[in-house]
């Protein structure tokens, strides 16, 4: 079952692989970036961090520099699991909720029936919104800001691979000559982080983010 779900989950983003448009409605963060790097995002895929990550990485806009203790993160997962399970019950969607702690943050994954696509939405916009609400629900209980990551129907995992490919292809295109800089479509902080990391594996190019959310986008430059 999860395989089927994952396949249909990518359909929505496969339409134009190399184009990433902003998620609708501005549910991406609008807070001013701070200089605090987000350890959760930085560690999300184990790739090299580029120095541009810091400006993108503060998805939460806070200054937390302590990783939550394991106990707190487990508790975050439990609260999030209850919140989401009740939602699935109310809308009558099939889904198994898996709780984990990875790289200093709670990770909640939901896999199951085709209905879950509605909770992913076009380009993951519903997923991002639901993650935001889930973090607020966790914060309401714990009193601490949460960096919890929510994935549904494997969407983030699939998206990460697509964005990695996009980052690499863009770096190669800039290195090959022609354009000295390539501006990508606006992306969420999660998406930009993956692209920056992919670009950072190449010598001779670097990437930065420019613009304000939800129009903030990655620009890849040839180094001179």
């Amino acid at each position: 079952m999860p395989e089927t779900v994952q396949e249909s989950g990518t359909d929505q983003v496969d339409a134009d692989e190399a184009t990433v448009v902003p998620t609708a409605g501005g549910e991406t963060d609008t807070v001013a970036p701070t200089q605090q790097a987000d350890p959760a995002e930085s560690d999300s895929d184990g790739d090299t961090d580029s120095d541009t990550d810091a400006e993108d990485s503060d998805e939460d806009g806070d200054g937390d520099d302590e990783r939550g203790s394991e106990d707190l993160l487990v508790r975050e997962g439990d609260i999030a699991g209850d919140y989401l399970e009740r939602l699935l019950d109310l809308v009558d969607y099939d889904g198994d909720i898996d709780l984990d702690v990875e790289a200093g943050r709670a990770v909640v994954s939901i896999d199951g029936g085709d209905d879950l696509e509605k909770l992913v939405g076009p380009r993951g916009n519903v997923l991002e919104a639901l993650q935001e609400l889930t973090r607020l629900a966790v914060q309401q209980e714990t009193g601490t800001r949460s960096r919890l990551m929510l994935d549904i129907a494997g969407w983030r995992a699939d998206r990460r691979q697509e964005l990695r490919d996009l980052g690499r292809a863009t770096a190669e295109r800039v290195l090959a000559g022609g354009d000295e800089r390539v501006r990508l479509q606006p992306m969420t902080p999660f998406e930009r982080k993956v692209v920056h990391d992919a670009v950072a594996t190449f010598d001779g190019v670097h990437s930065e983010s420019e613009g304000e959310d939800p129009r903030r986008r990655v620009v890849v430059f040839r180094q001179t």
Binding site: A24, G25, G26, E27, D29, T30, V31, Y83, R86, L87, L90, V91, D92, K118, L119, V120, G121, N125, V126, E128, A129, L130, E132, L133, L136, A137, Q140
Partner: protein, 79 residues
């Protein structure tokens, strides 16, 4: 369609200080279906969020579940 109202009520109850004051009514107007969200006045800031971010998230999730035609209006209980 009352599951939409129930879902919104649940999502909001989890993020406010006064969950028992959360009430959602589904009203149908010429413009379509609207979920009227009533919360304690003290919680208005929480359901709206910085720059309207939380309200936007609520609308996005409800549109995902209920379809694009669904509106969410935030009303405080004094009204």
């Amino acid at each position: 369609m009352s599951f939409l109202a129930d879902a919104l009520e649940h999502l909001v109850r989890g993020i406010v200080d006064n969950p028992d004051d959360v009430r959602v009514e589904l009203v149908t107007t010429r413009r379509g279906r609207t979920l009227e969200l009533h919360v304690n006045p003290d919680d208005l800031g929480k359901v709206i969020g910085r720059g309207g971010r939380t309200a936007t998230s609520l609308r996005t999730v409800m549109a995902g579940i209920g379809g694009r035609g669904i509106r969410v209006d935030v009303v405080d209980t004094d009204q």
